[in-house]
Symmetry: C2
Subunit: 195 residues, 2 copies
DNA sequence: AACGTAGTACTACGGATGAAGTGGTGTCAA
DNA sequence: TTGACACCACTTCATCCGTAGTACTACGTT
């Protein structure tokens, strides 16, 4: 079992791309080797099984999302009204959607986790933590809305992103921006701008 | 290419189960044969390719959901206030979640459709039609809320179901009912009961 | 009532594919 | 010199798919 962390990370990033492009079906050691442009057999040397590869992909995904500190600081700046929330939500949707392969890979992992308890536990913890994190930030920042607001926003926007990334024709391109705005307006009552 | 419609439907139902249980990775002709308890090679005789099998599974899924006439009539009865909408949404969530394998299979198909234009077109049309159908019904029934309300409800509840079916620990069992209620209350402003 | 035919069900084999793992060699750095 | 890793080649293994061939059943004909 090889240890080189940089190479391991590169392999995991490659696995994310493969998952997004070819699905769980296409995720083989060989495919990861090819995607990472390393010699055949390398992935075999770094992961003892497909199972281990999958759970490590889960870890890696969240590792890559960690550097949220910048975005976090941004959330604390500016006014504390609904229009600000709308702006922030647009940013979030934008950010998540640009990492398309990551999002799709995570969906594949979700479905895989149906059959892999270890993966399920990992994902449950990370996602629960993510939601709690968002709630804490939201209320601490003094933004309008409570914990439930954040959860409902989380639900609606996630499915919107899923819909866009898998079946883009359901909500046409040009409607998406307004749709995000609508979602926030419906979920978060009150005046648009604070007095 | 065999024609027996009953057997074809049985094979497609088996394919749904396989998709939900083993994922796209496990969906092979042989696995479908085994699930449908028919002799090896039968699925091969009924579908010329994996591609064709997948798109026909898509058709079959919606075929099975068609008999919504009863639920539809129910929507038209009763009061026309928010609590009624909440009730209806509880019913919808309940109904969808009891066909767990169907929902999971559809998610697999969504991800597959990323790579299969034909499948993507099929799913896009059906889902778009489904949304439009719900909107029309909602407003015709005189229920509170407009088209946007229905769309936002669709988004939030779908992700809630996805979360429950893939990572049940994120939103614990006992919170789900209240969460559905919360979702409706946040998205649909106004009094609970009509005057 | 016997026969022939068409459409299916079932069995079994053939061929091909591609994946995983391992052993061996070369290279670099401590 | 030694240990860890990169790279390569080869063997083994697991399935999977397609189809040829056979048996069965229903139905229409005469």
């Amino acid at each position: 079992m090889r240890q080189n962390p940089a190479r391991r990370a590169a392999l995991l990033d490659a696995a994310i791309e493969v998952l997004a492009r070819d699905g769980a079906r296409g995720l083989t050691f060989r495919a990861v080797d090819a995607e990472a442009q390393v010699p055949v057999g390398t992935a075999s040397n770094y992961f003892s099984s497909r199972d281990e590869l999958l759970t490590q992909v889960g870890h890696r995904y969240y590792e890559r999302l960690e550097p949220d500190a910048a975005a976090l600081a941004e959330a604390l700046s500016g006014p504390r009204d609904r229009d600000r929330v709308t702006e922030l939500m647009h940013d979030v949707v934008e950010r998540v959607m640009t990492f398309r392969s990551g999002y799709l890979a995570l969906l594949e992992l979700r479905l895989e986790s149906t059959r892999r308890p270890e993966l399920r536990e990992l994902l449950s913890k990370r996602i629960r933590a993510d939601i709690d994190f968002n709630i804490r930030n939201h209320v601490q920042a003094g933004l309008p809305g409570d914990a439930t607001t954040v959860v409902v926003l989380y639900l609606a926007l996630n499915w919107l992103i899923l819909e866009r990334l898998t079946l883009p024709d359901v909500f046409p391109d040009e409607q998406v921006h307004d749709l995000v705005t609508d979602v926030v307006e419906r979920i978060l009552p009150g005046p648009r701008r604070s007095a």
